[in-house]
């Protein structure tokens, strides 16, 4: 019996590191990634991108998109933490996979890299549409630019990148990013999706092999080349209009923007895709908040209810995932609201550089059911939306002042009347 339990403990000890590899709140970086390809040759033509992922510890599982055994989950458990779809021409996935199950995959908090290309299938367009991205309807259209190109006018040398350290890393991407593929635009009602790599104002989307008969529908900087979407549950999605962007050829090629004297030995593609993959797989820009802590000044326990005009202290611990461990998050733009239908108090939190954000304020002179609210939405970072409900009551009957100084004349009047009445009755009754 003892032996058995010991061996069970031992086995579980061995299993522990395996278990922790899977996606969890404590370790948000994805580990198991399914790569769907429409041609296995992509494995070698995009080997640099895949090997950087492998070197960062990702467990890549290459499958053909038509593979009939494809499945994202088994017995209700997801088998993968991330999904890379490099299969732009696939009309139907094999197995149980379809656009709905991929949307569910994202809705469960898992990440996705989707790459389309010219002549992208309806399936791929459909998945992109679910994420707020519309590819050009003309399936033969490509992005054409007569000013920002490298050699061929469909090979765009784009340098209009989003300015966010969280998404693209601290080191600036100097060389332009080479892009050849289809244009897309963002759904204007969706505010979760944003452009990472935009086309220049002179770009347009059209079929390069035929003459333009009508003005192109997508033009200029409205065209997005690569976009990202961070869902409300912080699942991240990268959508690229070009599969070649990730290819070894463009990663290794030199670049010289037409009309520009600067020639770079290497394009910015490698840095761009590496940094972007770090972001999408939660190696960067992932925040975690502890619980909201609040108490009266001078106390440590959290009260069940506050009284109006109480002084209180509020704090929250926020940590950032560095890819390996949780580090304190440092920022000066974290705010807390004391909210009841509208914010009654709005205060910027000060930080002790160890991850603890704190402030103190006075409860407003309004009773009701309030909420402490921390709504933190910073470009590239996970959205923090924390709230905690707390009622605020008015004074109790014995918490008012017993004697008001300004009322002393009235107290005096009252008591002199009483005394006078007593004396009067005495005199009236017995003075005869």
């Amino acid at each position: 019996m003892m032996n058995l339990s010991r061996s069970v403990a031992l086995i579980s000890l061995f299993l522990l590191p395996l278990l922790t590899f899977s996606f969890s709140v404590d370790n948000p970086t994805d580990r198991r990634v399914l790569v769907l390809l429409d041609d296995l040759s992509l494995k070698s033509s995009h080997s640099i991108f895949f090997s950087t992922l492998k070197s960062r510890g990702f467990d890549l599982d290459f499958k053909l998109a038509e593979d009939s055994k494809l499945a994202l989950q088994r017995y209700g458990q997801y088998l993968y933490d991330g999904l890379i779809i490099f299969a732009p021409s696939t009309e139907r996935f094999g197995g149980s996979l379809d656009s709905k199950s991929i949307a569910e995959f994202v809705d469960s908090g898992r990440d996705l890299i989707l790459s389309a290309d010219t002549s992208a299938s309806d399936l791929i367009r459909g998945i992109a549409l679910e994420c707020g991205v519309d590819f050009d309807e003309d399936s033969s259209a490509m992005v054409i630019d007569h000013s920002s190109f490298d050699g061929d006018h469909t090979l765009i040398a784009a340098d209009d990148l989003v300015k966010s350290h969280a998404i693209l890393g601290k080191t600036k991407i100097e060389a332009p990013v080479l892009f050849r593929g289809v244009a897309h635009s963002l759904n204007p009602t969706n505010n979760l999706v944003l452009k990472v790599l935009s086309a220049s104002p002179s770009a347009y989307s059209a079929n390069p092999s035929s003459k333009l008969s009508s003005p192109p529908q997508l033009t200029g900087s409205a065209i997005s080349l690569v976009s990202v979407m961070q869902a409300r549950n912080n699942a991240r999605v990268v959508i690229s209009g070009s599969l070649q962007l990730f290819s070894d050829r463009l990663l290794r090629s030199s670049v010289q923007k037409a009309g520009s004297p600067n020639k770079y030995e290497k394009s910015g593609n490698e840095q761009f895709v590496t940094e972007l993959s770090k972001w999408v797989f939660h190696e960067r820009g992932h925040l975690k908040a502890g619980s909201l802590v609040h108490h009266r000044v001078g106390e440590t326990d959290e009260p069940a209810i506050y009284r109006i005009k109480d002084d209180l202290e509020f704090s929250v611990e926020i940590l950032e995932w560095s890819g390996k461990s949780w580090e304190p998050y440092v920022a000066d733009d974290m705010q807390v609201q004391f909210y009841m239908m509208s914010p009654y108090v709005l205060k910027t939190l000060s930080t002790d550089k160890k991850g603890l954000f704190h402030t103190s304020f006075k409860v407003p002179d309004v009773y009701g059911v309030f909420q402490f609210k921390v709504e933190y939405e910073k470009l590239g970072y996970t959205t923090l939306s924390l709230s905690k409900q707390i009622p605020v009551r008015p004074y109790r009957h014995n918490e008012y002042e017993r004697f008001i100084p300004t009322a002393y004349p009235y107290y005096g009047a009252c008591f002199t009347t009483m005394a006078g009445f007593f004396v009067f009755s005495f005199v009236y009754l017995y003075h005869k």
Partner: protein
């Protein structure tokens, strides 16, 4: 015992006569006490129909709040109750319970509960709450007896007690389980009036003090105390005008007003209204008038000169009215004296609420009374009332003037609002009792003198002059005896019809808890719809404890009391804007409503729907009030958008806005698939008798969480915002 004691005295004839006389007096006392005792018990058991028919449960809407607060009071003690800030209602505003209720009822029930516990009767607080109303109804009969005795005689008192014990107008709000303020307030009202009349009659300070305490109890129990504080000054004013001013009146009114006012200020909800609100200014004016009157009386006594006094009178009266008018004007203009409230206006002018305050007009018990409900609630009292008034006028005294004024004013208010029939009931019973008692007394005395006529022939000694005069009178009207007997039989027939009517009304109409519905099945069997409690218990068991439920305000108290969940609005209706917001959400399209619900942190939406069972007081029938109340604050909601040619309909001819608003969608979701009645198409609404116009309802932001077995209550969950859009 009495008979045995009397038998030895038979030898002495003069002694036996005396003891016999004593015996009749004792008998009369015994009779009176036993009648009162029977009436007391009768008043209690007549109100137990609801317990026997259903179960010992709290009825309707407001009583659930009273029950919840009483529970809190008994569990946490008085000071916690007094300072209770309730964060479970009116989310997110909250409600200061201690400062916004009349605590009299809860304190009374808690005292009864504590007393019973002290006496080692371990009852549940719910049983105490259920039986509080019948208990106080019984007490009211005793007060009615004394009141009747005070204004007429003991006979009238007994009849009044018997009449009020079973009068449907009173039973409607005091059956077991109807745990509402009115349950104790009618007792307090009648007690205050009785003690005041007694004080005026005797001029005694102690009775006036008692009346002040009665008033205090009334103020602590019900907002209807405003009726007392206006009727009593009016009565005093009438006495002054008719020249019935006396020192007794002066003592009674001054003592009652000053002490009553000071005591009433102790109730947090009332506070300084006695000196600040327009409704209470009449009492103060009369109080000052009394002082002027007294002063004038004294000056008249001192001057002993009519001419000089006349000029003095003119000067004083003009200056007094002038000063009073200026004070009132300045007070009103500066905002110190608040103007009359809407409820008060709507009492004086029945059309006021309809035009200005839809939230008051929307309550069914605030509607003007139909004549049939007078007949239903008063039965023969309606005919006896004028007769009683005739007797009162015939024997005018301070007391009868009071009861006449009480009867006439309250009957007017009863005509304005259905629920005020309750206030008029004691007066109607008392005045009718005078009519019955006086008539029966006259008739029986006629019969008795008839019987005595042959006796007077043999024994001449006893009051010969009186009897002889009656003999002559009798001879002039030969059929008087028969007439009297016929009339007596008629009176008793009427009274028995009254008793039958009252019992029938109580058992059929006024004993329904309205939270459990009953209907007759196809075979005459009783079908019980217990959907409300089913839904509330579902909420209690299956939702997070901090979930917020949005529903129309009618169900707020029940959800907090039975479901134990936070509600957005409830029956307190203190914040019209908040209710209008809910009304707006219910009458908007789903996506607009979703934004409103998100801003109020709503997790669940509850609607009441009668289309399957044919239950007519559901949310669709209340819907126009939601539109009106919502539109009163948010002009984007317009009533004509929901009507077609001024007609409210839900079938194919309904307006497009109606067919797609949130309330319609929530009520009729999945209803289009259902066959409710044999031989009718699917989606046939039995409450309105039409086939619904929108059978294909798709919900985007809400999902069905629970629907009770008869579809009366439907609960929907508000979905979180979509993940990717």
């Amino acid at each position: 015992m009495g008979a045995k004691k009397a038998s030895p005295d038979l030898l002495n004839s003069s002694f036996s006569f005396k003891s016999l006389k004593l015996k009749t007096k004792q008998q009369e006392l015994l009779l009176r006490v036993s009648i009162l005792g029977l009436v007391y018990v009768l008043a209690f058991i007549a109100r137990l129909f609801s317990v026997l028919r259903y179960e010992s449960m709290i009825h309707e809407f407001d009583p659930y709040f009273n029950y919840r607060t009483t529970l809190y009071l008994t569990e946490k003690g008085f000071y916690e109750f007094w300072n209770w800030f309730d964060s479970e209602s009116w989310y997110p505003l909250g409600r200061i319970i201690g400062g916004t209720l009349y605590p009299g009822l809860m304190v009374t029930a808690a005292l009864i509960y504590w007393t019973l516990r002290f006496l080692r009767f371990f009852v549940h607080i719910r049983e105490v709450c259920v039986l509080t109303a019948p208990f106080f109804a019984s007490n009211t009969t005793i007060v009615a007896y004394f009141f009747g005795k005070e204004i007429w005689d003991t006979g009238a008192g007994l009849v009044a007690a018997a009449l009020i014990a079973i009068c449907p107008g009173y039973i409607s709000r005091s059956v077991a389980g109807s745990y509402d303020n009115e349950a104790v307030a009618i007792f307090a009202l009648l007690l205050t009036f009785y003690l005041f009349v007694k004080a005026v009659k005797t001029g005694s300070l102690s009775w006036a003090l008692g009346s002040a305490f009665g008033y205090f109890y009334m103020v602590s129990a019900w907002g209807g105390y405003v009726f007392i504080i206006n009727l009593v000054p009016l009565y005093v004013l009438v006495l002054l005008i008719t020249g019935r001013y006396s020192m007794r009146l002066y003592v009674a009114y001054n003592c009652m007003y000053i002490l009553g006012m000071l005591l009433a200020m102790q109730i947090r909800f009332v506070g300084f209204q006695h000196v600040q609100s327009g409704e209470h200014m009449g009492a103060m004016g009369v109080f000052l008038l009394m002082q002027v009157f007294y002063f004038l009386d004294w000056v008249k006594y001192q001057l002993n000169d009519t001419k000089l006094f006349q000029t003095f009178l003119r000067i004083t009266v003009t200056s007094a009215i002038l000063v009073g008018g200026i004070a009132l004007g300045v007070g009103t203009a500066s905002g110190y004296i608040s103007p009359w409230t809407g409820r008060f206006y709507s009492l004086l002018d029945p059309t006021y609420a309809k035009d200005h305050i839809p939230i008051i007009a929307s309550v069914s018990e605030h509607q003007p009374t139909a004549w049939s409900s007078f007949m239903f609630d008063y039965h023969i009292l309606l005919f006896l009332f004028p007769a009683g008034l005739y007797f009162c006028f015939k024997r005018l005294s301070d007391a009868t003037i009071f009861i006449v004024m009480y009867g006439l004013t309250s009957l007017y208010f009863a005509g304005v609002m259905v629920r005020l029939i309750l206030v008029a009931t004691p007066a109607v019973c008392l005045i009718s009792a005078i009519a019955v008692s006086a008539t029966v007394k006259n008739l029986t005395s006629l019969l008795r003198t008839k019987q005595k006529v042959p006796q007077t022939g043999s024994t001449k000694g006893v009051g010969s002059s009186k009897s002889s005069s009656k003999v002559t009178l009798d001879q002039s009207q030969p059929f008087q005896k028969n007439g009297a007997i016929a009339l007596l039989v008629g009176v008793f027939y009427l009274l028995s019809r009254y008793a039958i009517h009252c019992t029938w009304v109580t058992s059929e109409a006024y004993s329904s808890p309205s939270i459990v519905l009953a209907a007759r099945g196809a075979h005459g069997n009783r079908i019980i719809f217990d959907d409300y409690r089913e839904a509330y218990y579902w909420l209690r068991q299956n939702t997070p404890t901090d979930a917020k439920v949005m529903s129309w305000w009618d169900y707020g108290y029940q959800i907090t009391a039975m479901g134990n969940r936070t509600v957005i609005v409830d029956n307190n209706t203190w914040n019209n804007t908040h209710i209008a917001t809910v009304g707006r959400a219910m009458s908007s399209y789903e996506d607009e409503a979703y934004d409103i619900m998100r801003s109020l942190d709503v997790n669940y939406v509850l609607v009441v729907f009668g289309g399957v069972t044919g239950y007519s007081s559901d949310d669709i029938n209340k819907f126009l009030w939601m539109v009106r109340i919502g539109g009163g604050v948010y002009p984007v909601i317009k009533e004509p958008d929901y009507l077609v040619n001024g007609e409210f309909r839900v079938d194919k001819g309904a307006s497009p806005k109606m067919l797609n608003c949130l309330m319609y969608k929530l009520c009729y979701y999945r209803f289009g698939e259902l066959v409710t009645e044999y031989g009718k198409p699917t989606g046939y609404d039995r409450a309105r008798g039409v086939e619904i116009g929108n059978k294909d309802i798709k919900l985007e932001h809400l999902e069905e969480a629970y629907t009770t077995s008869n579809w009366i209550v439907r609960i929907y969950r508000v979905k979180p915002p979509t993940n990717r859009l």
